[in-house]
Amino acid sequence: MLTNYIKIAWKVLLRHPFYTFITLFGISLTLTVLMVLTSFLDHLFGSHYPETKRDRSLYIMQMRTQDSTRTGSSSGPMSFKFLTEYAKSLKTAERVTICTFVNSSNAYVGSQKIKLNTKYTDADFWEVAEFEFLEGKPYNEQNIANSDQVVVITDDFKKHYFGKTEASVIGKDVEIENLHYRVIGVVKGSPVTRPFTYADVYYPYTTPKSNYQRTGMRGGYVAILLAKKKSDLKAVQDEFQNNIRRIPLPGVEDGYKFAYVEVKSEPYVENFTGTLLNGNKGIKTIFFGVIAFILFMLMGLPAINLVNVNVSRIMERASEIGIRKAFGAPVRTLMWQFIIENIFITFIGGGIALILTLVIIQLINSSGMIAYADLTINVNVFLVSLLVCLVFGLLSGVLPALRMSKLKIAEALKS
C-alpha cells in the first residue's frame, strides 16, 4: 500500500519537475543554512576537543573594577598570584588551571618566519583540557618547580618548525625570541575558536617572560574551574564569589582607585556572550533583535515560499477535486496522496540538505579558514528542522486540500 503511494508520489513529482525543483530547493536550502549555522554554534560552544569537559567547567576571564562613582571602569585578565589565591584554593572544585590568554610571538627558521600563539600554563592545564599527545608527555609539577625550559608544541607548529618529518622531535631544541626550549610533548592542536586552550606553543608558567611573579591583581592570566560534576557548578560558583567578596575594598591598582570589583566565573556560553556584549543593554537588545529578525527571515521566507507554491498547486486541482467528488470519489484517498507527496518531498529535501551540509562542513574543516576546525552535524537539529519542514509542507499542502474537500461540490465545480 505505502510503496504504491510512494510510487504515485514519485510519478507526480516527476510530472512537474519544475515545481519539484522549487520545493526541493527551498527545503534543502533552509535546512542546510540551519544545520551549518547550528553546527558552527556547536563548534563554538559545545564540549569538544580539547575542552571535552566544558559542560562542567567554569571560566574566569576578566576582572572588572569600578571607581566609587561608577563612571569609569577597567577590565582585563588577572595576575597569576590573584588567581592562585582566590581560584586555585577552591575546595568544591575538582581541579583548577591557571594559564595566560592567547599571546602572539614569532619564531624564525632560516629565512622563514612563523607567526605563533603562545600560552603559559600550570601542570593542571593538561588535566582540565584533554589534549591528545602524539609524542612525549606534558610537563608536570616537577618541571615547573625546577623552572625547566621545556615546551609542548602542536603538530602544526612541528611541521612548520622542523619540516615535514615523521621522526620524533622530543628533546629537540626550539628557539623563540632568543630563548631555547626543549620539546617535551607534541599534541594535536586546538582550534583558534577555543581561546582558553588554543596555542601553538605551551610553556610552563615558570619559564622566563611569563610575568607570573607580578604582585597586583591584574595581569595576563585566566582560569578554568573544573567541577566534579555538572550539578556542582553552582556550589563552585558560590564558593568563588565568597572568595571574591573577601577582596579588600576600596583598593588601588596601577594608580587606579577602585571601589567595586567584579570577577565572574561562568559557563562558557555566558562568558562568551557576556564579553561580546559587555553588559550594554541597548546594544544587547539591538543585537538580539537583529539576530532574531535574520533567523525569522531565514526561516520565514522559504516557508512562505513553500506555502505559496503548494497552495497554488492545490488550487490548480480545485475543479479536479470537485469533479471527482461529484462522481463519488472518497476525498480521503486524495488527501492521502497529498500527504504522502509532501512527506516524500520533505525527506528528499532533507537528504539533499544533509549531503550539502556535510560537504560545506567538510569544506570549512579542510579550508584552513579555522585551523583544526571540527564541525559536525547535530542530529537533533537536523531532525527538528526536518519536522518543521514537514509541518509547513503539510500545512500548506493539506490544509487547502482539506478546505476544498469540505467545499460544496457545486462551489468547487464553479471555479
Binding site: 519544475f18 515545481y19 525543483f21 522549487i22 530547493f25 527551498g26 536550502l29 543554512v33 602572539s104 610571538s105 614569532n106 624564525y108 632560516g110 629565512s111 622563514q112 618566519k113 607567526k115 625570541e177 632568543n178 622566563p208 617572560k209 611569563s210 610575568n211 611573579q213 607580578r214 539591538i286 529578525f293 535574520i294 527571515m297 531565514l298 520565514g300 521566507l301 522559504p302 512562505i304 515560499n305 513553500l306 506555502v307 505559496n308 507554491v309 497552495v311 497554488s312 498547486r313 488550487m315 490548480e316
Partner: protein, 384 residues
C-alpha cells in the same frame, strides 16, 4: 487600464496575500543586505590616507623588567634606525594601524563635544606612513614647549571642531594645539568609517608607548626580521618582541568585515533565488490557469503584447503594494538613525532594493507572460 488591474487584484486579494507577504519579506531581506553593502562600499571608497606596504609593527613588552623602561625603549629605537634596511622608523601608542586595539576620548572646543580616536606618535609618523599633510605641518619634538601638546588632526576632526574656522594654532580641549591637518586616516583599514582622529606628540619619557612602526626597504625578508628580533632581545633581555607586517594585519582586519558580509550575501542570495523561483512557479501556474481569460481578451481585441503587459502590470501593482508596506518598515531606519549610519546609506539601499524587487518580479513574470502572449485565442478558448 490601471484601474482595471487594481480591480482584478483586489477581487483576488486572498490568493494574492501570500505573494504580497513574500515580496514584502524579500524586500526587507534585500534592504538589510543592500544597507550592509552600500554602507561598506561607501566606506571603502574613502582613502585610508596612508601607505602600509613594507611597514612593520615592532611591539615590545617589558615583562618583569621595571627599571628605566622609557630609556631602554629609546635605545632600541635609535638602534633600529641604524640598520640600512630601515628607511624610516617611528614610535607610537599600541593602537597602531590595523591593530585590534583602539583608544578614543571626548574633546571639547567651544561647547562642541567630539569623540575622536587618539594616536600618540613621534615626529616621524607621517613620514613613515607617507601621510601627506594638507594644512600646516606635522609636529616636531621641539614643538612641545609650554603647557600645550602639539597635535595634528584629520579632515573629519577639522570639520567637527572648526567648520569654517582656520584650525592652525587653535587650542582645543584646553591642552592641545593644532599644528597641522591630514586628509583622512582610517586606521582599521578601508572598511572603517572615516571618523575624527587626533595625533598627539608622545612623551619620550613615558614607558607606555612601546611600539615602533618601521618602513623597510622593499624586498627585505625574514632573515633581517630574525636578526632584528635577536638584536633587540640581546639589548633588552627578558623583554618580548613581536613583529607584525601591516599587510597581514590589514588582511585580518578586512576579514573581520568581509567574512560576515560574504556569509550574509550568500545566504540572502540563495534566499532571493529561492523566492524568485517560487514567484516564477506561482506566476506560471496562475497564468496557465487563466488561459481562458487570455483567449477571451484576445478575442475582444487585446494584442499579444497587450496581454503580456497586463500580466507584468498586475505583478507590478502587487509589488508596489508590498513595497509600500515594506517602506513603512524600512523608512524607520533613516528616520530613527539606527546604528548611527547616515540616512543617505539607507536611502540608497531602499532605492536599490526597490529597483531589484521590480527587476526580479518583472523577470519572473516575463517568461510566463510572453508564453501567454503567444497563445492562439481559438486554442485557449477551446480548452476552457
Amino acid at each position: 487600464m490601471i484601474r482595471h488591474l487594481l480591480k482584478l487584484i483586489w477581487n483576488k486579494k486572498k490568493a494574492h496575500s501570500l505573494l504580497l507577504v513574500e515580496i514584502w519579506a524579500s524586500f526587507l531581506v534585500l534592504f538589510g543586505l543592500t544597507s550592509l553593502l552600500v554602507y561598506n562600499i561607501s566606506k571603502y571608497q574613502e582613502p585610508i590616507g596612508f601607505t602600509y606596504e613594507n611597514v612593520w609593527a615592532v611591539s615590545l613588552r617589558s615583562n618583569r623588567d621595571t627599571t628605566d623602561l622609557a630609556e631602554k625603549i629609546q635605545r632600541v629605537l635609535q638602534r633600529i634606525k641604524t640598520y640600512p634596511e630601515v628607511e624610516s622608523a617611528t614610535q607610537m601608542s599600541s593602537n597602531f594601524p590595523f591593530s585590534q586595539s583602539s583608544m578614543s576620548n571626548g574633546v571639547d572646543y567651544k561647547k562642541k563635544h567630539v569623540m575622536a580616536d587618539f594616536y600618540a606618535t613621534d615626529e616621524n609618523f607621517a613620514q613613515t606612513l607617507n601621510m601627506p599633510v594638507t594644512e600646516g605641518r606635522w609636529y616636531r619634538s621641539a614643538d612641545s614647549v609650554g603647557k600645550y601638546t602639539p597635535i595634528v588632526i584629520n579632515q573629519k576632526a577639522k570639520e567637527a571642531f572648526f567648520e569654517n574656522e582656520l584650525p592652525l594654532g587653535k587650542i582645543i580641549g584646553d591642552r592641545f594645539k593644532v599644528m597641522g591637518v591630514v586628509n583622512t586616516f582610517k586606521a582599521k583599514g578601508e572598511f572603517m568609517a572615516n571618523t575624527p582622529a587626533i595625533f598627539e606628540l608622545l612623551d619620550p619619557k613615558s614607558s607606555w608607548h612601546d611600539l615602533f612602526l618601521i618602513r623597510v626597504r622593499p624586498g627585505t625578508d625574514a632573515l633581517f626580521e630574525a636578526k632584528l628580533v635577536k638584536d633587540i632581545t640581546l639589548m633588552v633581555d627578558e623583554w618580548s618582541v613581536e613583529v607584525d607586517h601591516l599587510t597581514d594585519s590589514r588582511k585580518n582586519q578586512h576579514n573581520l568585515t568581509l567574512v560576515p558580509v560574504i556569509i550574509f550575501l550568500t545566504v540572502s542570495g540563495f534566499l532571493l533565488i529561492n523566492v524568485a523561483l517560487g514567484l516564477f512557479g506561482v506566476l506560471n501556474l496562475s497564468i496557465a490557469k487563466r488561459r481562458g481569460e487570455i483567449g477571451l481578451r484576445r478575442a475582444l481585441g487585446a494584442t499579444g503584447n497587450g496581454i503580456s503587459e497586463q500580466f507584468i502590470g498586475e505583478i507590478w501593482v502587487l509589488a508596489t503594494f508590498a513595497l509600500l508596506i515594506g517602506l513603512l518598515f524600512a523608512a524607520q531606519f533613516p528616520l530613527m538613525n539606527v546604528f548611527d549610519i547616515q540616512a543617505g546609506v539607507y536611502l540608497t539601499a531602499i532605492a536599490i532594493s526597490i529597483v531589484v524587487i521590480y527587476g526580479i518580479v518583472t523577470l519572473c513574470a516575463l517568461f510566463p507572460s510572453r508564453l501567454a502572449a503567444r497563445i492562439q485565442p481559438a486554442v485557449a478558448l477551446h480548452e476552457e
